[in-house]
Amino acid sequence: MDRAEEAELVARLRKGDKAALRALYASFSDRIFGFLLRLTRRRDVAEDLHQETWVSVARHAERLAEGTDLPAWLFTIARNKHRSWRRWAALDFTRLAFDTDGPEPEGTAARPDAGDELVALEKALEALPVAHREVLLLVGVEGLEAKQAAEVLGIQPEAFRQRLSRARTALAEKLEGPARNDAAVVR
């Protein structure tokens, strides 16, 4: 989706156009779900948060500003839903029991067709703290630009570069041990 299409979609969303919502959903639904699934590591929670994200999108569509960066906006909403869930889940003891069990069977390890390298990468990613995981998911998996990812995380570009560098180093250590230490090049 180029900038012109995005601007047109924003204009239609502001008018409450259902077809525009469907088009946006078709483009981003799976990406948002994948982002939430890798953050929560639970399919049931990810499905709920995904739905809440899109309900919020519909609720606030008419207040979109012209020139809104749609991917950044969508991932910001999804991330906020996840943060909100984490706050509430901190009081839920059943979740603590889940965390001791590790990732649910939905993970990559359950798929026999997945390559060993991808399985290891997925596992390493799952083992990272949320702050590291979300920056890697936004940049690495979703391919957001540095500016967009910084906007989603609500941090300055310099802080974003540092966080990405730390996250990248942590991921490399999980994959290959602490020896590998080359920093990410971020533009």
Partner: protein, 87 residues
């Protein structure tokens, strides 16, 4: 240009398989969002309610005017009477 340029490790992340929703859940989420969008759409004029409100407002206004007219009539008479008495 994005944040993972020139970084093979970040580039590898791009190769992770996409996750997808179950079809039923996918439809459910879209329907929920559409229902919210539909609910937020500005409703048209509700003519029966508008007609009823107009009638009540008019009746209230007439009653108020009539009440002031009665009061004015009562006071008006006494003023006239007192004025006549002075003369």
């Amino acid at each position: 240009m994005n944040g993972r340029d020139d970084d093979p490790l970040l580039e590898k992340l791009r190769g992770l398989p996409a996750k997808s929703l179950a079809p039923a859940r996918r439809v459910k989420a879209l329907e929920a969002a559409e229902a919210v969008l539909e609910g937020k759409r500005r409703v048209g004029w509700r003519w029966p309610e508008l007609a009823m409100a107009s009638v009540l407002a008019l009746a209230g206004a007439l009653y108020t005017v009539e009440s002031f007219a009665r009061i004015g009539h009562i006071y008006g008479r006494s003023e006239v009477a007192s004025a006549e008495g002075v003369e």
